[in-house]
Structure formats: structure tokens, C-alpha cells
Amino acid sequence: MPEPTPLFQARHLRKRYGETTVVDDLSFAIAPGECLGVIGPNGAGKTTTIRMCLGLTAPDEGTIEAMGGLSMPRDARAIKAQLGVVSQFDTLDPDFTCAENLIVYARYFGMRRSDIAPRVPQLLEFAALSHKADAKPGELSGGMRRRLSLARALVNDPKLLMLDEPTTGLDPQARHLMWERLQVLLQQGKSILLTTHFMDEAERLCSRLLVLDHGRKIAEGRPRDLIAEHLEPDVVEVYGDTGNRGHDAKALAQLPLKQFARRVEVSGETVFFYTDEARALLDALSQQAGLRTFHRPANLEDLFLKLTGRQIRQDG
């Protein structure tokens, strides 16, 4: 099947701030209707990449093309007319009500009040904010503010949405509501570029993932394929118990248990066995009294930690 023409294509992007290279030879494309997830530790270059995609900062090297032949930053205005953006931190206007926020923002796209006013109730309904039309952002919960930001990003009926950590700081209910809304947008045929720190979010929403670290792309593919490619199918977590002598984590990670696992990682008092033989490993573990174990399939978080390591990054 031939690849559809990408809606957005970045080639060999590079960006330096002083001596630090924050984005290094990064290429990616977003196909129409696709949700591309960008994951990576803090400082991996996710936000800088989005800023370059928005023409807010020019790459030192590389090209960005979008919407059929337009080029960033030269055609920034024409490209942004077809983009919707939710940035990492809310930039809602605190002096305006929810409805006014949408109307004022639509004017930045050259729309008249009469163009946008009829759509305001629909947008507020989509954001589950109909009852808050006359409330100011300061009176809203974190989840409501994020949904208002999403509604605001939709005023121009964009083809492509760029969402920088849209659910950071939200409680599970608010996060699930946001996911549901993003699924609806994908069903409507919109494309999404999404950065996130939540692996379940990436797995749920994204048809394809880009894993960044130190500004470089270290993996790319469908979430399930990436897991199958890089990881063993099962994970057994064993929580050591230093209070009971003999069961400290480092000792558990040695033979004979190690023979049942392809890879063993120790983090604090927890041992992670990555294995194809979960049954045999669990049987062997059950011989040892007083251990707590947790058996689960390998997930995206395991992949992420395998590729980017367990050490804490800047701002982490």
C-alpha cells in the first residue's frame, strides 16, 4: 500500500543553544488522520521540536514542510492557520470568560465574531464546559482549563493538532475525558502530534511513536511493534524485603533465579525479571517465603525505561 502524502514532514532538524545540541538530526512525518506520539525524558528535545514545528524558533539545520508545499518558518502564518495548538502551560486569557476566550482567539485567525459566535456553544459542549460559558479560567479546575485550551485550539477547524503534554497534572477522570475527546477528533479525521510522559496515554492514542533522548530519535514505530521488538513478553517484579535477612534485591538478581530471565534489572529494592518463562520463574520464586511478586505483560513504560535508562534527568 503506498504511503499517503504526509501532512507534515520534518527532515534532519538540528537545534543548538550555545554548546548544547537539543535536537539532533531528527526526521519524522505525520500522515493524514494519524496520531504521532513523541515520548522522551525531560530535556529530550520534545518542546523544542514542537517550537520548531510552530515556527517559534528556527532550526539551525533541516527543513519542515507542511500542508502541501508550505515551508516553516517562511510560511508560518499559512501553516498555523491550519494548526491547532495546546501548549504545555495554559495560556488562557484570565480576564475573559470561556466563551470570550474562544471568540478572542478566533480573531487571531482573521475570523469575525459572526464567523465564530455560532460555533462557540458546540465547542464548549465538546469541551464539556457548556455550563461554564460565563466563568473565567480562574474559576475552572485544571481539567476544565485543559479542555478549554483544546476547544480554543479547534476554533479554526485545524487539520493538525499539536498537543504538548495535554494531560500533565490532571486527575484520572479528567485525563480519561481528555482521551475520549482526542479519540473523537481522530475519528473525525484530524491528525495529532502529541508529546506525553504517560505511557498509557501514548499506547492508547498513538498509532505511531517516536522515542527521543538527548535530542535524537532512538526508536520509532507502532507501540505494540516496539514492545515486541525490544522486550521480552513478560515482566515479573519482585519486591525485596531487607527486613527479612537474605532477601535483599541484589541477592535475588543472582542465580538460580536469573536463569529464568533474559534480562534482570535492580532498582532500589525491586528486581525486574524480563522473561519468556514467567511460569517457571514464578514457581521458583514461590519457593522463597515472604516475597511479594507482580506478574504482568511488558508495556511501553518498560520499553521507555530500557531505551532511556532509569536515572533521573534534569528537572526530574
Partner: protein
Amino acid sequence: MSPTLPTPRAAASIWRPPQLTTRWWPVFLRNLLVWRKLAIPSLIGNIAEPLIWLVAFGYGMGALVGQVEVGGTRVPYILFLASGSICMSAMNAASFEALYSAFSRMHIQKTWDGIMNAPVGLDDIVLAEMLWAAFKAIFTVTAILIVMLVLNISTSPKLFVAWFVLAGAGVTFSCIALIFNALAKGYDFFTYYFTLFMTPMMFLSGVFFPLEQLPSAVRAVAAWLPLSNAVALVRPLFMDRWPAQWGLHAAVLLVYALAAFWVALALTRRRFRA
């Protein structure tokens, strides 16, 4: 590494010419809509202070000073002071808006970041903020002029021309203030601008007393201050005369405005790394 890798390009200079479009208007309109909600309290704040100065100094000091000589003509002190202090009001209104309020929008509320995610460039935002601060100055000046007419301080038909001069001065001072907005790390920084730049200028521009009182070296500096050039244009118009050397004074204000806008834009671009 790919053989098709393009060669590094030179970063666009922050000193490149302004790229201005009509998209400044929705940004200006946004500020206008917010202000409309607070216009009446803001109006009282904007004109109360200059009027207190005028009444206290004009009538109080005026009784002691009597008349002041301006260009060979003796005028009541209240007229002298009114024509100077209205220039100071234009300066203060534009500066407050382009410093504290613009900084809130730019840095605290991140309103500018939100706007730049839409098809509006940073240059248009800076232009809109400049014109908005100038508008605030025009609004304040208009209100004060009306009060001065009611108080019968001046009834010169040339006040109409003075209004345009004051509008221009509003533009000049908002351009200058935006330079400091672009450099600020926090509100404290603006204290320097007020105490080290605006307050000395207030005393060196002939607002409260004639410049002839000053030593000649100080006068030579004072002659090139933007506020003294604004006063030199406005005061004769209050006296129903055409200003001497009006072309020179207008040119000084214009050069300040253009140069300051360019510098403010470059520094703001640097701030946003755009």
C-alpha cells in the same frame, strides 16, 4: 549521517526589518476588550493623579510664583504647569502600560505565547502593544484636556494640534518603555526605569520650571530629552502660538520612536529566540 543533510543556515538576525501585517489589530482589540471592563476605575486613576498635581502646584505654587516668562511672554504659572504636566501624563500613561501591563501579558499570563500559536507573529504583537500603550496615553490626555478646558486653563484652538502632538509623544514613550519590557526579569526592574530615567527627565524637561534656570551644561543635555521636546511643542500651542523650531522637536520625537521601536523589537525577538 545522511548525504542530503543541508548545510547550516545563518540564524536570522534579531535586527532584521520589522515584519508587520494587519494581524496587530486583533491583539490591540483584545487589550481594548479587557480594558473596557475596567475603563471607569482606570479613567479615575489615570486622571486623578495629574489633576492633583495641577491643582496643588498650579494654584498653590502659582500663588507664590505668579507669572512665568515663556519666549518673551508672561503667562500664569497654572498655564505653564498644565502644558508641561499633560506631556508628563502622556509619558506616564504610556510607560505604565508598556511596562507593567505588557509585562504581565508577556511574562506572567503568557498571553503572547498563546497568540503566537495562532497565525500572528511576534512583530505584530509588539506593534499592537506599542499602539495600545499609546492609545492609553491618548485616552488619558484627552480626559485631562477636557478637564483643563472646563477649568478654563487654556481655550486655544491650537489645543486640537496639541492633542496630535501628545498622541505622538505617547507613541514615542511606549516605544522606549518596550525596550525595558523586553529586558525585564521581573517587575522590580521597572523601578530603575522610573527612578533613573523618568523622574530625572521630569525635572529636566521644563515641566515644573523654565529650563533657563538650569546650568548650561544641563540644558544642553535636557534639549535632547524626549519629554523636553514634547513640552517645547505643546506649551506654545496652549498659549495659542505656533512652536519655534517645531520641525526639529517633532523630528527628535520621531527619531526616538523609530529607533526605540526597532531596538525594542530586536530585544523582544532575542527574548523569545524568534
